[in-house]
């Protein structure tokens, strides 16, 4: 991990500056956050969360290739594996709720309050 390793970066990657990746990932991430906060359908919220995770993956890959350091890409594998496990549990919870209430609108969930 020395700055001198910068020379190892392939020219194809360098054609797009790192800042662009950073802005792109941040934009994706913010779209995900807005989706989570504004949508009412549990599946759409879920998709927005996946979008947030993929924005992170994008960012990690960009950093990783600009630094010629594989750690970031290894982390992406971890994120993908864990996200898959989360999807399994999350969809199971949504199916369970659909069976009981015939709806996946989060507005219908109001049994628990103050």
């Amino acid at each position: 991990m020395q700055p001198t390793q910068q020379v190892l970066i392939p020219e194809v990657i360098q054609q797009i500056p790192l800042n662009y990746y950073l802005i792109f990932s941040t934009a994706l991430f913010v779209i995900g956050i807005i989706g989570v906060l504004t949508r009412r359908n549990a599946i759409i919220i879920f998709m927005s969360i996946e979008l947030m995770l993929n924005a992170v993956n994008m960012l990690l890959i960009a950093f990783s290739s600009y630094k010629s350091d594989p750690t970031g890409q290894v982390f992406v594998f971890f994120i993908m594996a864990v996200a898959a496990a989360e999807v399994a549990v999350g969809l199971a919870i949504i199916v369970m709720i659909y069976r009981n209430t015939r709806s996946i609108d989060i507005g219908a969930l109001n049994k628990l309050k103050w």
Binding site: K67, G72, F75
Partner: protein
Amino acid sequence: MLPIILLSVFGIALLFLGFAKSKAILLPATLLFIAIAFGASFVDWGKNYMYFNDMLLSTNLSIAFTAIVLLSAFMVVSLSSSFLEDESAQPAEYYAIMLFSLVGAIMMISFENLIMLFVGVEILSVAMYVLTGSDKRNLRSNEAALKYFLMGSFATGIMLFGLALLYGTSGSFVLSDLRSYVNGGVAYGSPLLLYMGLLLLLVGILFKVSAAPFHFWTPDVYEGAPTLFTAFMSTVVKTAGFAALLRLLSFSFTGIYSFWGVILMAVTVITLVVSNFTAVYQSSFKRMMAYSSISHAGYLLIALTAVGQQSKQALVFYSLAYSVATIAAFGVLLVVSRHQSGEGKPTDESYDAFNGLARQNPLLGFIMTVAMLSLAGIPLTAGFWGKFMVFTTAANRGIFWLLVVAVLMSAVSIYYYFRVIIAMYLRDGQTTAIRVAPFYRYVLIAATILTIVLGILPNLVRSLV
């Protein structure tokens, strides 16, 4: 790091034990497994070892936190005998998931690489989502599970973005590299990325330990989840989360204390004020316990805000005192609400459920009283010394205004803790004598004795760490 391997193997073994016709073996087997892991965690005592290619670090501090987590899990599991009577319950799966979640907790406690922090947080959280929704037919449990899941994965996303930014600026996920970067090492990116990254990472973890303003999920989830898993969540997750925060802040990021110190102070004050005043207005005991757990997150945050040598001792002691008292309180609630449903009454989790409890059941009344006194921080209980040590760290750091807020808020907390005691001893109720299984009773008595012994001889634990 033996407990990580052992608990993973034991968890799978438990799933196979679930095939057996008799479910009676599951509870003793789980207790035995946790006890073995507890013993095995002390193998590395006194040594500083890196494990799994420098992914995890075992120190005395991490072993102490591991021991607290395993002890809490042991006590919670031993209160779970009702699973074996319930037809729809799946005890083998519950126990296995609890063991797996402990693996995540231990990874959070002893991580050296941020990848392990993320994986640990996720193992713990995903297991908790499942346990929260384990009462499949109950709409409240469903709702709690969905809320916890959506909010939890949202927080994970934020935490991950923080980790990515930290990687981008420092070029490494290893804590010691981050430390040397923060203390003026080679920079790859602008310091703005470092501050943003740390901020987002903090938000993610503070969410998991339910500090205000990221606490809004806590009351709903704690109320909706089955009581036993509420007890598990409020002790294991909190201890592991604070161990992770302590490791991060006291090791890697001490160089930029001026940045995160201010943020944590603000979070601490908001947490203390919001949780204690909201708890006063609760009518449900379980919801009150949820706000109480938020307020205890606030006290633990004081020790982090004033980070120093003593914070470690204070955090270990406070986590232990808080866990033991919380489990005892939830244990009594479990017995009482099961007794009600056994008599055909609707399950009532408000303060009224405890009306007149102590007349017919002096033992349960005493256990609950000691737990409440300890949570309120009355002398001669462990909770008093926990608060004392936490406040000492703040005083040593010279943050007196924070101390004043904390003391005032713990005075407020006496009101809602004593409401339970008043209901038990002074109110009239129709509670008849409750039969408590012998083993269940021993665990509750052990928790009470531990609380009192630690209240009289705090040095038993303090001298260890």
